[in-house]
């Protein structure tokens, strides 16, 4: 963007701890004790995003300059489009232009290859997640989790329901009380998940059903991971690590 004659401010990155993604099951009790389900991290990101200097800068440009800015950023409305066919039907597309395209090329090399592998790999979840949910090993652990939660005073059938309840509560209570309630729930959730080995069992069943996928799908999954791994190595050479 600088070479195109525009200023561009780096977005404030979340810390390593803040940017942890939870997945279906979380059993990190310490994290839950500190962050609940992460609502305050989201609120912090929201506050910072509203004060992103790029917003005011973009607004200060003339209409003609704004068009040049957009073209430089990602190619604008007329950017070339790349597509990926999904194994179960449907096409996803992505505009690929400007500095975004250049950055992705630097990270992934073969951008089309990465996009296709990534989208195919992502679409596979719909194939194996229902199998995990129906698997006796998993449902037994989930039932044990639910009983544990019930004993702790939080009757929920699954972790998703618990998280949703926390989100709903936040709409009904004041912020401080809502966060305390969220933390209590998240700690109980993670504690019960640890006691019942729910995450480990879920992960093991996921690996089991992935192995049963047709080899073409497993190849896409491996290819997607290889792209990510290479991109991470290239990124590490370009950017400082998160702390």
């Amino acid at each position: 963007m600088n070479r195109n004659g525009f200023a561009y401010w780096q977005a404030q990155r979340e810390s390593l701890e803040e940017s942890r993604t939870a997945g279906y099951v979380s059993d990190d009790v310490d994290w839950a004790r500190k962050h609940g389900y992460g609502s305050q991290i989201t609120a912090k990101d929201d506050r910072q995003r509203r004060h992103n200097p790029n917003i005011a800068y973009h607004a200060s440009l003339s209409a003609a300059q704004r068009r040049k800015y957009d073209a430089a950023m990602d190619g604008g409305l007329d950017a070339p489009v790349i597509t990926a066919e999904l194994p179960r039907g449907g096409t996803v597309k992505k505009r690929e232009g400007g500095c975004v395209a250049e950055s992705e090329k630097q990270l992934y090399g073969d951008v089309r290859g990465w996009f296709r592998a990534d989208k195919v790999a992502g679409s596979l979840q719909a194939l194996y997640v229902p199998k995990i949910m129906a698997d006796t090993k998993f449902t037994t652990a989930l039932s044990a989790w639910s009983q544990c939660m019930d004993r702790a005073g939080h009757p929920f059938t699954n972790p998703g329901a618990a998280r949703q309840a926390a989100a709903q509560q936040s709409l009904q209570m004041g912020a401080a009380r809502a966060f305390r309630a969220e933390r209590d729930l998240a700690v109980a959730d993670a504690t019960c998940a640890r006691n019942t080995s729910l995450r480990a069992i879920g992960k093991e069943r996921e690996n089991h059903y992935i192995k049963e996928l047709p080899s073409a799908y497993r190849r896409a999954l491996n290819l997607s991971r290889a792209f990510q791994h290479r991109a991470l190595q290239r990124a590490a050479a370009l950017a400082s690590p998160r702390t």
Binding site: Q10, N52, I55, L77, R95, R163, A235
Partner: protein, 155 residues
């Protein structure tokens, strides 16, 4: 704030040279109005109560609104009305907009990537619970792409 190198996700930004003129997207009637309403990449997201970014403008924001139906935030009295939405956010970090079936910012959702620009007809899309997204959105927030399930991407 001094000018500094920007980062895309975890990467360093390439100081790239000006693009040569790309091949134009083939013309279509779908999305014409969304294209006309495109504000450029200014960090915001938007919603309208009709298709192709027409009808009543429901609101827009650079932030989150976990309850489109209450009287506060960027979206007020907007629950279960949106038929088209737009993501004009900056790339990197939480650059995807997640739209939710219920207020609160959890539960079933659909994700709009920044590269997609907009979804001009939500009737083409479903939440992760299978329900149509047309006139069914009650909350929105910015998330990372990794927070979105493979089948949650909307077009």
């Amino acid at each position: 704030m001094p000018r500094i190198r920007a980062l895309i996700a975890t990467a360093g930004l390439v100081l790239c040279s000006l693009l040569t003129s790309p091949s134009p997207a083939h013309a279509s009637t779908q999305g014409d109005n969304c294209n006309a309403k495109w504000p450029g990449r200014n960090g915001s997201m938007h919603a309208w109560d009709w298709t192709d970014c027409t009808g009543t403008y429901l609101g827009g924001t650079t932030g989150n609104d976990l309850n489109w139906g209450d009287g506060v935030g960027a979206f007020t009295n907007a629950s279960n009305r949106a038929r088209s939405v737009m993501n004009a956010g900056f790339f990197g970090g939480r650059d995807v907009v997640a739209f939710y079936f219920l207020p609160g910012g959890d539960g079933s959702y659909g994700c709009l990537a920044p590269g997609e620009l907009y979804a001009d007809y939500l009737g083409d899309n479903t939440f992760t619970n299978g329900a149509s997204m047309d006139r069914n959105i009650m909350a929105s927030q910015w998330v990372t792409a990794s927070a979105c399930a493979g089948n949650s991407w909307i077009t």
